[in-house]
């Protein structure tokens, strides 16, 4: 249960988009905590922070279409002792106003919570100007920043509550629209920096975040049933600080790791996991799947998940492909252990 006492179940959140769940949770938090203020840059409606604005009009500031000023204002509000929640599209939060986030918010370690929506390719039809496949890399490189990519609406509720309770800046990237529910209720022990093991397994570990986590979980079930594979699945909702312990456990116990994310393959979840594996010096077959180093095509988010290899079918294919490789037969495999 969240320390704040707020809990949610699939019943509370049925028929709600992930952002709507965020809006609801923020309103509930704000009922209890007067220090919460909200900001948006003419995207209150789209990001659903508008729910907070409607309920607490005096505590909400629309900055207009001016993200640099919005994040500067958020820094000032935080310096005055308040806790700003700032919502805009991920591409604007992480790129348009990146320097303000870095210098004005992260450097003084201010209590600003950025809930960025329409992340990854979840706004697929909007095109490259509105996709955001770089935010994890950018935000991960800002010291003091916590970076979270929740798997679904229920996890978003947990992440938003945890972000409030965490002292310092937090970046949460959520998808546009509806995410299929991975969880039915919020009491599964969400903790910033702690991966959730969705399934145990010994042959291979899938590490995923965001939309890919749900797909990975269900892919693993099919792989077990059809291929007899024992697939561990980690929902790595926190990209920073990354759960090194869970990664190393996977290295030692499954020896094969594959990551899936809705982000450029450079700098996001895959890179964060690879950094941990490489510095350990322990051998492990590793692959990372995401948007290759290109700007994503236009399309429905479901189609893009398939195109970029992190829908259920493509995850199954990738795991089969990795399992078909003969890592253990290479001569010095044993020496590496």
């Amino acid at each position: 249960m969240a320390a704040d006492g707020l809990t949610y179940t699939i019943v509370d959140t049925a028929n709600m988009s992930t952002a709507e769940i965020y809006g609801k949770v923020l309103c509930d938090l704000a009922e209890k905590h007067n220090d919460i203020v909200g900001l948006s840059a003419d995207l209150a409606k789209s990001t659903k922070i508008g729910q907070f604005a409607a309920k607490f009009p005096n505590r909400f500031f629309n900055a207009g279409i001016a993200e640099q000023n919005m994040f500067g204002m958020a820094a000032g509000l935080a310096k005055s002792g308040l806790t700003p929640f700032v919502s805009t599209f991920a591409v604007f939060a992480s790129l348009r106003a990146a320097e303000q986030v870095r210098t004005d918010i992260c450097y003084p370690n201010l209590n600003v919570k950025i809930i960025a929506t329409h992340a990854g390719t979840s706004f697929g039809q909007a095109g490259t100007t509105h996709h955001c496949t770089e935010d994890l890399a950018v935000m991960r490189s800002f010291a003091n920043m916590v970076v979270i990519a929740p798997a679904d609406g229920i996890e978003t509720a947990n992440a938003v509550i945890a972000a409030y309770e965490h002292k310092g800046p937090v970046y949460i990237r959520i998808n546009r629209g509806f995410d299929p529910f991975l969880y039915e209720k919020t009491d599964y022990g969400f903790q910033i920096g702690k991966a959730v093991q969705l399934r145990d397994g010994t042959d291979i570990t899938i590490i995923a975040c965001g939309a890919a986590a749900y797909n990975a979980y269900h892919a693993a079930g099919i792989l077990e049933k059809e291929d007899g594979l024992s697939v561990r699945v980690l929902n790595m909702h926190t990209i920073k600080p990354i759960d090194e312990e869970a990664i190393m456990k996977a290295v030692m116990e499954t020896r094969r790791i594959v990551t899936f994310e809705d982000h450029n393959i450079y700098g996001g979840l895959g890179s964060a996991v690879a950094e941990v594996i490489v510095k350990s010096g322990k051998a492990c077959a590793f692959e990372s799947v995401g948007i290759p180093d290109e700007f994503a095509i236009i399309g429905l988010p479901e189609d893009l998940q398939n195109y970029y290899g992190f829908d259920q079918n493509k995850i199954i294919e990738k795991v089969r492909q990795i399992m078909g490789k003969d890592f253990e037969q290479t001569e010095d495999w044993e020496d590496e252990v």
Binding site: Q68, G81, P108
Partner: protein, 280 residues
């Protein structure tokens, strides 16, 4: 209220001393943004020695006025004032820019007592100040936010984003002063990127503009007291100043935006400053 002769004398002496401390600091630091540090001396002196509600013994006092020196490069002009006020020992100025020192080219809010925001990246100060002022208002706090800007930084779009927001939200517990020394790194502001009609721009954004001689304590005092009382719209004080003020070989020369001084130039600069104040 006009300043008493006694006050005026005190401020002039203080400005003379701070300018000489700035010259020393540039020398110790091996270089510094001296031009813009000498142009805003009167602005900073009257704020720090007359108007600011601060307690240097308690830099984090929750009810203190907030000061955001948005022209963060003017560290060599700002640090001597903070030292003189007792935020840190004056001896530290000798370590300015040294490895491991708390004092770098741009004063750092995480490291230097009395500094409310790490500035230097231009165009950041006004947005932060608008947020501070809104935060004070929301929490019914009476402390004021003072934002001291450079004119060149008004090229930044974020300044005008914040100007729009301050007017929109009627942020009147904020006092903004622009050091209009008309010079930037690459040349005069009007040649690099024209700012005029500067006052009209602020007016068009919904601000009340007070234009003053930024080296005239009485004019600055009048404008600051006006801004403190005004509650209908945000006020910007455009303080017309001279870059490198009081040092003959620097005055009005954009080349002295940043520079180093050898001991000979230090003596020459200090002699200029003394001469200037003797003549006054």
């Amino acid at each position: 209220m006009p300043l008493s002769n006694e006050e005026l004398q005190k401020f002039k002496e203080k400005a003379c001393q701070i300018r000489k401390d700035t010259i020393d600091t540039v020398y110790w630091a091996g270089g510094g943004h001296v031009g813009g540090s000498l142009s805003f001396t009167e602005i900073m002196v009257i704020l720090y020695y007359k108007y600011l509600r601060i307690d240097p013994k308690n830099p984090q006092w929750p009810d203190r006025d907030r000061v955001v020196v948005s022209k963060g490069h003017a560290g060599v002009g700002y640090a001597p004032i903070l030292a003189d006020k007792g935020y840190f020992p004056k001896e530290l100025l000798k370590e300015y820019n040294h490895t491991g020192s708390i004092l770098g080219m741009h004063l750092d809010g995480n490291k230097v007592p009395g500094v409310d925001a790490s500035t230097g990246s231009l165009g950041h100060g006004l947005p932060i100040s608008v947020g501070l002022a809104l935060g004070a208002r929301l929490q019914n706090k009476s402390w004021l936010t003072y934002c001291i800007m450079g004119d060149g930084e008004c090229d930044e779009g974020s300044v005008w984003e914040a100007a729009m927001a301050a007017a929109h939200y009627k942020v009147t517990n904020l006092i903004t002063i622009v050091d209009r020394n008309r010079m930037m790194i690459d040349g005069p502001t009007e040649e690099v990127m024209r700012l005029e009609p500067f006052a009209d721009k602020w007016k068009a954004f919904g601000w009340i503009v007070k234009e003053v001689d930024g080296h005239d304590f009485n004019a600055l005092a009048d404008a600051i007291e006006y801004a403190q009382k005004e509650d209908k719209a945000p006020v910007v004080i455009i303080a017309h100043t001279i870059k490198g003020k009081c040092v003959d070989f620097m005055e009005d020369k954009y080349e002295w935006h940043y520079g180093g001084l050898d001991s000979e130039k230090v003596e020459l600069a200090k002699a200029c400053i003394d001469k200037h104040y003797c003549e006054m």
